[in-house]
């Protein structure tokens, strides 16, 4: 603030008129605030909106659960064995992404790339599993989105989760490509870190979806 931008004081400031005629008071020193950076806050805010989005889909799923007059029902159509494997992939990928960002933060580039790649592979495995599962549902159980309420809510919920996994995989591929060009380092680890947060979130959502759809709802 430059001196001349300040207009002359027009205040008598009656309530707290200074009685002592000493020099103006000395302002206290400013201590820097320690919080997250803007990008991190931004990611958290975005994830908050995602929580609201998935909560809505889950509420819709639960509110129609068991209301169908025509089959197939979840217990008839859903097989646990496959989904346990895909779930394991996704859970493992949360570990690998953690190891990756950890490696990056401590400057171990090669390890970062390996763990990052592993995460991508696990994510793709999950998607492939889901693809197979959907094919079975459609061809063997004739479950489509227009078949019944279960189909309607199931494909919407699991589909939007799958879409998020897909977007996560794409984001991670971009980071990997950058890493391959040695453009990702400990100094600019932020993007990798935020992608990791997003990935953890997508995993967390899956745990809820898994519990709701395959455990409680079956």
């Amino acid at each position: 603030m430059s001196e001349e931008s300040i207009p002359p004081t027009r205040s008598a400031h009656a309530l707290r008129q200074r009685t002592d005629e000493g020099p103006p008071p000395i302002p206290p020193a400013i201590s820097p605030e320690q919080t997250l950076g803007a990008a991190q806050w931004g990611m958290l805010a975005f994830l908050l909106s995602e929580v609201a989005f998935f909560s809505t889909l889950i509420v819709a799923y639960l509110s129609f659960l068991g209301k169908d007059k025509i089959g197939p029902t979840p217990s008839e159509a859903l097989s646990l064995s496959l989904v346990i494997v895909t779930t394991a992939c996704l859970l493992a990928s949360s570990v690998t992404v953690h190891l990756a960002t950890h490696a990056l933060a401590s400057g171990r580039q090669r390890q970062f790339c390996l763990w990052w790649l592993a995460t991508i592979v696990l994510g793709v495995a999950f998607l492939a599993g889901t693809g197979y599962e959907w094919r079975e549902l459609i061809e063997r159980h004739h479950l489509t989105i227009s078949r019944n309420l279960f189909g309607t809510t199931y494909y919407t919920l699991v589909g939007f989760h799958g879409l998020h996994v897909t977007l996560g995989v794409i984001a991670m591929l971009v980071v990997l490509a950058l890493a391959a060009r040695r453009a990702v380092s400990g100094q600019n680890a932020l993007a990798a870190q935020l992608t990791g947060w997003y990935w953890h979130f997508v995993d967390g959502v899956w745990i809820v979806v898994f519990t709701v759809v395959y455990v409680a709802g079956r």
């Binding site: 300040i6 207009p7 004081t9 103006p24 908050l48 909106s49 809505t56 509420v59 819709a60």
Partner: protein, 549 residues
């Protein structure tokens, strides 16, 4: 004049219009994006207002056949949608965009390109929604689009799809803006500006953003479900095949109620900046005001079903939602009383911003109190979906949101353009709106209590509603010139307005320390902050605020 002409970048250089257009279209500067939002909103305000005028003309007399029923139904759907999604939200987001970085001493928003994306998504969403007119008619489902009227069985044709798609796209814009606000406010404040030292408007933008993050995605999800129903024959709201009409209502109002606070919280923030400056007093009870903002944001997430008292809920639920709705009046009251206390003992100057703030105070109170009547569940069994509700929500949306927003626009226009709005036109605008608004929406409370439902394209002559409708129509035509004057004032003052200088109102927050309009980088030197009124400290070095906070 010649001296001051120098610091007017808007006019000094005069590049060809193609160049200027390119600059505006590709801009990622928060101030330009803010202005784009505001301009877009004013354009949609005029469109939505003209739709309202057509409706009022149709309702002038009973059994009037000026408009066919379906067209009337399209008009209120588009009017409501426009006013909420393409006027109310974008104008507040735009003003927030312009001010938040300036007020917290930052050079831009946290994510400038995301910011631009947010604006263009909002505009594109608006265009998509209006494009439905070109496909043989706008949607005729009402702005809250109750299922199953929105299913393909009842709403054939693509209009409803465009409507849903338009709102999804503009919702993406809203979420981008909210993410940006949170990141900017929490991550980019000037050194020394702790949360407790933020200008009050920034507090309200923070909580508005949180509400947008929590409330808009459920709407997006519901709209996606609706589109799945319409396009892929899913059954979410398809009551003929087990879908649920009530689910839509819950999802919509889970969004819709917080939405109305999204439309008022930033306005609370704006008048909380205007009232102190024009009363020459510090905002009374800052901490309580901040706490009340937070309380409103939280409580309002749990009151949505007061829009659904008549769907046959249990008495217990009725009771809960009535109680929760009434609770909101407590923090709102806190705000109200703190504004009054700020004025009390001040030296009030009634320049146009304060005039509009006065309009806000005197009118929002009434809208809030009619809200209390609606929240009294059994009373709502009579009032719901009657013109009383239409009276209530215009009273809060115009008496609250619009008056407060006009206060803000009149207050910050000099900062954004370097020139003042014409005070004479502002007074015409104010009084025409004040009188016309009372005349339009006052009688609606009466016709509602006389049994007139909303959303009817015509009514029977023997019901005693004629007079009240005539008054309302008259009022609408009294207000209309007010909006025209406002638009004209915005435009003509760009050239002819009195030069403003950096700090025309002798104000206290950071945006007044830089030039008007501010340079692209906002501040030559990032400011350091020690109190809520850094400019007060600078103007009163002998007795700064930080000694008392």
């Amino acid at each position: 004049m010649a001296v001051a002409e120098q610091n007017l970048p808007l006019e000094t250089e005069n590049p060809p219009w193609t160049e200027r257009l390119r600059e505006w279209v590709t801009t990622v500067d928060h101030k330009q994006i803010g202005i784009l939002y505001v301009v877009m909103s004013v354009v949609f305000l005029v469109i939505g207002g003209c739709e309202a005028l057509l409706m009022r003309w149709q309702l002038l007399s009973p059994r009037n056949d000026f408009l066919p029923p379906d067209f009337f139904n399209q008009l209120f759907t588009m009017h409501g949608t426009t006013m909420v999604f393409f006027v109310g939200m974008p104008i507040l987001i735009g003003i927030g965009n312009y001010l938040v970085p300036l007020m917290i001493g930052a050079r831009d928003m946290a994510f400038p390109r995301l910011n631009a994306l947010g604006f263009w998504a909002t505009l594109f969403g608006g265009c998509l929604t209006y494009f439905s007119f070109a496909t043989g008619g706008a949607p005729a489902v009402g702005w809250f689009a109750y299922a199953p009227l929105t299913e393909r069985t009842f709403a054939r044709g693509p209009a409803t799809d465009f409507w849903a798609l338009g709102l999804i796209v503009s919702g993406v814009g809203t979420i981008s803006a909210a993410v940006n606000f949170v990141a900017t406010i929490l991550g980019m404040r000037a050194p020394g500006m702790t949360l407790r030292k933020m200008p009050f408007f920034v507090w309200t933008m923070l909580w508005t953003s949180v509400q947008m993050l929590l409330a808009v995605p459920p709407l997006t999800a519901a709209l996606v479900m609706l589109l799945f129903d319409r396009q892929f024959e899913a059954h979410f709201f398809d009551t003929a095949n087990g879908g649920s009409a009530i689910l839509w209502q819950h999802l919509f109002w889970f969004f819709g109620h917080p939405e109305v606070y999204i439309l008022i919280l930033p306005v609370f923030g704006m008048v909380s900046e205007v009232i102190p400056v024009f009363s020459r007093k510090v905002l009374f009870g800052y901490e309580f005001m901040a706490a009340a903002t937070m309380a409103i944001a939280f409580i309002s997430m749990g009151v949505w079903a007061h829009h659904m008292f008549c769907i046959g809920m249990s008495r217990t639920l009725d009771l809960y939602f009535a109680a929760a709705s009434l609770l909101v009046s407590i923090p709102t009251g806190i705000k109200f009383f703190n504004w009054l206390a700020t004025m009390y003992g001040g030296r009030l100057r009634f320049d146009s911003p304060m005039l509009f703030a006065f309009g806000f105070l005197s009118m929002f109170l009434i809208g809030g109190l009619t809200g209390i009547m609606l929240a009294a569940a059994p009373f709502d069994f009579q009032l719901s979906d009657s013109y009383f509700v239409v009276g209530h929500f215009h009273w809060v949306l115009i008496g609250g949101t619009l008056f407060g927003t006009f206060a803000g626009v009149h207050y910050w226009y000099p900062k954004a353009t370097g020139r003042r709005l014409s005070e004479r036109l502002a007074r015409w605008q104010f009084w025409l709106l004040y009188i016309g608004f009372i005349l339009t929406f006052g009688p609606m409370h009466v016709s509602g209590m006389l049994g007139m439902p909303r959303r009817i394209f015509t009514y029977e002559p023997d019901r005693g509603w004629d007079l009240w409708n005539q008054l309302a129509t008259l009022g609408a035509f009294v207000q209309a010139p007010s909006f025209a004057i406002f638009a004209y004032n915005l435009w003509s003052s760009l050239r002819r307005g009195e030069l403003a200088g950096d700090d025309p109102w002798d104000a206290w927050t950071l945006e007044w320390t830089t030039t008007s309009p501010p340079p692209a980088y906002n501040f030559a030197e990032l400011p350091t902050v020690r109190s809520r009124r850094p400019l007060w400290d600078a103007k009163h070095p002998d007795d700064p605020d930080w000694k008392y906070e």
